[in-house]
């Protein structure tokens, strides 16, 4: 396997493990990062606020974890699209 393939696999594994970043703070009763408070913006409404599906939060940690993984995958796909687009303009053939 090429290095880039292995690195993509690593990113995918991180995406699947990402709910740890939700579950650990939950069990230690930790809130948001300092300063990342609840002052919401009326300028822009994010479609998946806080990596969650709106209204699904009350369905428990399992559902939130699922939404977290789906958010990670959507984010990664969005990033790939943006980089490919930018890459078309910025890269040169070698």
């Amino acid at each position: 396997m090429k290095t880039t393939q292995k690195l993509w696999l690593g990113v995918l594994i991180l995406a699947i493990l990402s709910p740890l970043g939700l579950i650990l703070p939950y069990y230690f009763k930790a809130g948001k990062a300092w300063g990342e408070g609840d002052r919401t913006s009326c300028l822009w409404r994010a479609p998946l606020p806080d990596y969650s599906f709106k209204g699904w939060e009350k369905n428990g940690l399992g559902v939130s974890s699922f939404a977290y993984i789906v958010s990670a995958v959507i984010g990664i796909i969005a990033i790939i699209c943006v980089v490919l687009l930018i890459g078309k303009f910025l890269s040169r053939k070698d």
């Binding site: 809130g31 990342e36 990596y51 984010g75 969005a78 990033i79 490919l84 930018i86 040169r92």
Partner: protein, 223 residues
């Protein structure tokens, strides 16, 4: 570390868009000159890695959380200018799709994580690495301390942005319009938790991946 909207005055937010604009332009020009087409996947991997590692919130005593950013790692692998673009992309996606970090604050967040952390981390890595070979243990330590210094500088800068708000922007009767915490609160808390915990998380993440790549593909470390 991601400043939400409402905590910075529009003036502060605007200022950092103005500061970042020439940096983004120079970064695009330099990347356009140097980026080979086979490096595009690496740019995507760097941005995706940074995006996903920032989802790993680490709880700390006192009820707060924080996370690594992967920005120094991406800087070591892609160079600081390409890393600046990669981290900017991750921050834009986080702000637009997930509301993680504000829109007005996006320039400021990019200044802290896509510029300050990236460049500080990159040069700390280069200075400590000196002329050591790509497979040397010295490189692992260099990446470790680069991660620590990079994230902490970003935390200092973020804390100052928060802390100056109540000094500069208040109503006529002295009420803070934006972030209510002054430098005397923001700096010790933000910098303290990063010096004690999150800086080390960034250091370990950076060093572990560099150690893995030394075995896997040391050519990647010869930029």
């Amino acid at each position: 570390m991601h400043i939400p909207d409402g905590y910075l005055s529009p003036q502060t937010g605007g200022l950092f868009y103005v500061v970042m604009l020439p940096i983004w332009i120079i970064a695009s020009k330099i990347v356009k000159k140097n980026l080979k087409i086979r490096q595009v996947p690496l740019l995507a991997i760097g941005a995706a890695f940074s995006f996903v590692i920032m989802m790993f919130n680490v709880p700390i005593p006192g009820g707060s959380t924080g996370h690594a950013t992967g920005a120094v790692l991406v800087a070591i692998l892609l160079g600081p200018w390409a890393a600046c673009i990669a981290i900017t992309i991750a921050l834009v996606i986080q702000a637009l799709l997930f509301g993680d970090g504000g829109i007005i604050a996006l320039g400021a967040n990019c200044f802290n994580m896509a510029f300050l952390e990236v460049f500080a981390g990159y040069y700390v890595y280069r200075i400590i690495s000196a002329r050591s070979s790509a497979a040397s243990i010295r490189r692992i330590w260099a990446s470790f301390f680069a991660g620590y210094v990079g994230l902490n500088l970003a935390a200092v800068s973020t804390a100052i942005m928060f802390g100056v708000q109540p000094l500069l922007f208040k109503t006529t009767d002295g009420q803070a319009l934006y972030c209510p915490y002054g430098l005397n609160v923001a700096v010790p808390i933000m910098v303290g938790e990063h010096l004690l915990i999150f800086g080390w998380v960034e250091a370990i993440v950076t060093a572990l991946v560099i150690k893995y790549l030394q075995k896997q593909d040391p050519d990647l470390l010869n930029i």
